[in-house]
Symmetry: C2
Subunit: 346 residues, 2 copies
């Protein structure tokens, strides 16, 4: 094979003239040592350029101190935030994190499951709705600590941290209503995860609840997976091509909103004067587009951080949790920026 020869604890022990276990104790501070031995060992380590082998340690301890995160696409700022929450929580407890991103490619889901089931990680955060039922059951059999973030409980098996999508959409619609809008459209990426389904339904419910017109042409839901911004752009154009134009738009995510804004601006509409728009997520870019985007803020970072802290508890205590603890619903808030105003008379 191709490996370099490596310096082991044994070498260090020999060099320092102590027993192997003493070196181990030194490294793990698992026993008090005399200052003299400490120095000898320190010197030996330095001299030999010894570096402990984590793999061996992991094998022995049957623990890797690593958790996995599973997301569809890391270039999506939403998931980048999720990742950060996980990474920060993990770091606090001295865990490493290994990221899996599928780019929405199905075969990659299997790779992830393989990783998880081969003792490479102590637990896993899933922010991805595995399409394949089969994969969920494999994860179930593996019986590995798992927490879902932004994914509703599957099989009532794993704890889950989600944002309350219904409240979010209600917030958006009510906000537009209060501004005077009566004709509101909804643009959505493919509802491949439950929150997206719920948002769509919540939109319809909210419109009905306010007794506003429910125009089928104004509920545009993309079917094909693609870049979120491109989807928004396409949906925006589609909306513009209809005979009746609404005065405001609610979207399933900020990326879709940003794409739609581009379509509107290109066509010469002014935002917010001719068209108000509200997003969902509050990714970092939403405050930097022009005009800045009013949106429903999902506390992604906090969600994934909290979920991860929970996961680490599961790992370290192997504790079972009460059913009522399984679903954590976080309330979203509306972040008011410059993409909405009262409708202009047309």
């Amino acid at each position: 094979m191709s490996q370099r020869k490596s310096v082991t604890m044994k070498d260090v022990a020999r060099e320092a003239g102590v027993a192997l276990s003493t070196v181990s104790h030194f490294l793990n501070q698992s026993a008090p040592l005399s200052e003299e031995t400490r120095q000898k060992i320190k010197k030996a380590i330095e001299k030999l350029n010894y570096r402990p082998n984590l793999t061996a340690r992991n094998l022995k301890k049957r623990k890797t101190n690593t958790i996995g995160v599973f997301v569809p696409d890391i270039a999506n700022p939403f998931y980048a935030e999720i990742y950060k929450g996980v990474a920060d929580a993990a770091r606090e407890k001295k865990y490493n994190v290994i990221l899996y991103a599928t780019s929405y490619q199905k075969d990659r889901e299997y790779d992830f499951v393989r990783l998880v089931t081969q003792w490479q990680v102590d637990g896993v955060i899933v922010s991805y709705s595995l399409i394949d039922e089969n994969l969920w059951s494999k994860l179930e059999r593996a019986d590995i600590p798992l927490v879902l973030v932004d994914v509703y409980p599957v099989n009532n098996r794993w704890p889950s941290v989600v944002v309350d999508s219904e409240t979010g959409i209600q917030l958006a619609v009510q906000y537009l209503f209060n501004l005077g809008h009566r004709e509101i459209a909804y643009l959505s990426e493919p509802p491949y995860i439950l929150p997206l389904v719920k948002r769509q339904q919540a939109f319809i419910d909210s419109i009905k609840h306010l007794k506003l017109p429910l125009n089928k042409e104004w509920i545009l839901v993309e079917k094909k997976q693609a870049n979120r911004v491109e989807i928004g752009y396409a949906l925006g154009k589609k909306l513009l091509s209809g005979k009746n134009l609404p005065t405001a738009v609610v979207t399933s995510s900020d990326l879709v909103a940003i794409g739609a804004m581009k379509a509107f601006l290109e066509s010469g509409l002014k935002i917010p004067d001719d068209m108000s728009i509200v997003g969902f997520d509050d990714i970092i870019f939403s405050s930097y587009v022009h005009p800045s985007l009013t949106t429903i803020r999902q506390p992604k970072y906090e969600m994934s951080k909290k979920g991860t802290e929970f996961l680490l508890q599961l790992i370290e205590r192997r504790e079972s949790f009460a059913l009522q603890d399984k679903l954590h619903r976080i309330k979203p808030v509306l972040v008011e920026r410059l993409s909405c105003s009262a409708p202009r008379k047309r």
Copy 2:
């Protein structure tokens, strides 16, 4: 400890009534087996829900089949692209990748070095300029396969894939010049990596070369680390507060450009009519801001993919490489979009 009891190859062998090594051969396809034994083993694995322990395998083979990627900030789309290139190249060769992002926090750099030096990864892609000289030397001592991406060779020690920043900036300045601009500013994030230093110098050189006025007030370089877009926004405002306004701006990165655009638009300037702007990088968002951003495209994905392929060769062949192979310079191209036009008479 907290681990679940685990089913091992030994259990499978017993259950199937064959020798342990036979199971190993089955798993690794390292020897041809009779159909009968294969079936027996398969059944036993299924029955016991056996899952191979990668940690043990790694220890034995002294190889983890994992590479590390080191970046400052994964929420920055530029680095998300870098990550994708690495992930795809790794996947092709059945390697896992583990991501380290520091969020520009110095103490996290040490975590990364620790990971690398503890045999957790077979090699590493670094797209980050470690500030601490000391860390570089630790990596050097560890003697682990390492390839730099978007970082110039350090100590002439590691191979490196970089974009030709000078050419990029020349392209930008020449393009603006050809449009008729004579008063051009340069906005830059902190030049914490060599390419940024080179871009700044290349800007000055280009201006001189074209015999244009070199106004100190028009070369705005931020000192403090911060979100790139916020930096751009702040620099944009600063530029606006000066007494003379240029007609065009070149920036060190798209994120800075996007921030600056926001500042310009807010102040009522029209882009490109009142101010032309060109970015550097071509991140995905640049085509979705309004107006879409003309920029110098860095083939980030290709760079990191290529770098990773190179790394994997180093790992698998432990080959040394000729000096002239160490630096791969990729030529950038100008992507023309809608943020530039001829200057308006003022």
